[in-house]
């Protein structure tokens, strides 16, 4: 199990890093690795140039930093929940033995 898990994580890292190494922006000014959600927005404005979003978010993170903070918070909450659960069962298993 332990070896399989190490291999699983290594595979994830490899799949994540490969595009960063091999994909280069042809045009220096053009940013790559932008969000797919945002690109879809671009396609919408091409298909229906007249479409106007009819609702605005009540609140938007005022900067990329704040957005990063909240995404970090989201990941931390999730990782905390998983870690607590596994740690609890692991500790209980160890106490029984």
């Amino acid at each position: 199990m332990k070896r399989q898990n190490i291999l699983l994580l290594l595979a994830c890292v490899a799949i994540t890093v490969a595009p960063l190494l091999f994909i280069k922006s042809g045009d220096e000014k053009k940013e790559i690795f932008t969000g797919a959600d945002g690109q879809a927005e671009g396609v919408i404005s091409k298909i229906s140039p007249d479409y106007k979003p009819w609702f605005e978010p009540f609140w938007e993170p005022p900067s990329g930093e704040i957005e990063g903070l909240l995404f970090g918070l989201q990941a931390a909450i999730g990782a905390g929940l998983i870690g607590y659960c596994i740690g609890f069962y692991r500790g209980r298993g160890a106490a029984k033995e």
Binding site: M1, Q4, I32, F33, G35, A40, P53
Partner: protein, 228 residues
């Protein structure tokens, strides 16, 4: 897979919301029953929802030169079935709509439909099919998580194509455009989601075999002593 706030026409926004409500109601009922009958499963429910929180916050670069994120719905579905994960997915999407301006309230119905409902149902279908075909357990988990992730992004593409058909080629041409953004980008990410789902399942099987057995998850084959 987040359709941005305001980016679905009013009728579509209402339609997807209406389609989502009964599934969400079913999920809430399932969650309530689970908590009443098996309060000991609270930790695993928390971990399943935590997995959705983590995976949907990870924006990962892909071979298409853009970034997207996995969904994490498949993992919890293999433990609890699809209903409860409808609720988990909804909670995460609500968090992102309110705090991150990712997705939105008008598109919450459509986004919940693609991520939590289609994602959950596909994960459950694939997982059950894997069990019927007697595939190795880890492979079933992997395929369930991976295909659930892909199905979510295919659904988003179709939702957008329905709302914004191409003036020349109609729905089909538009679907191709959205699929080329979402589905291709998602393939490596879906594989990562599959691998991470097996990773967490392995940890749980090693340390919480009893709790998983109560949810009819088979024990790991090799002896998994928790001692280092």
């Amino acid at each position: 897979m987040h359709i941005m706030e305001g980016y679905l026409p009013v009728t579509h926004a209402i339609g997807w919301t209406a389609a989502t409500v009964p599934f969400l109601g079913y999920g809430i009922k399932k969650l309530g029953a689970q908590l009443r009958k098996h309060p000991e499963n609270r930790l695993l429910l928390g971990a399943s929802t935590g997995f959705v929180f983590v995976l949907s916050s990870l924006k990962i670069p892909s071979v298409t030169g853009s970034c997207s994120h996995p969904t994490g719905i498949g993992f919890g579905t293999t433990l609890f079935g699809p209903g409860i994960m409808f609720v988990s997915g909804f909670v995460v999407l609500l968090f992102q709509a309110l705090l991150l301006a990712h997705g939105g309230l008008t598109t919450l119905g459509a986004n919940t439909f693609s991520m939590a409902i289609v994602g959950g149902l596909v994960a459950w279908g694939v997982y059950r099919a894997g069990a019927t075909l007697r595939l190795p357990f880890a492979l079933s988990v992997f395929l369930a998580a991976m295909l659930s992730d892909l199905a979510t992004y295919v659904t988003t593409s179709l939702q957008l194509a329905l709302a914004f058909p191409d003036p020349a080629g109609g729905f089909a041409a538009s679907a191709v455009k959205f699929l080329s953004i979402f589905a291709l980008t998602q393939i490596p990410l879906a594989i990562i989601e599959g691998l991470l789902s097996v990773f967490v399942m392995n940890l749980l099987r090693a340390h919480a075999a009893q709790q998983l057995a109560a949810l009819s998850i088979p024990a790991a084959q090799s002896s998994t002593k928790t001692n280092p």
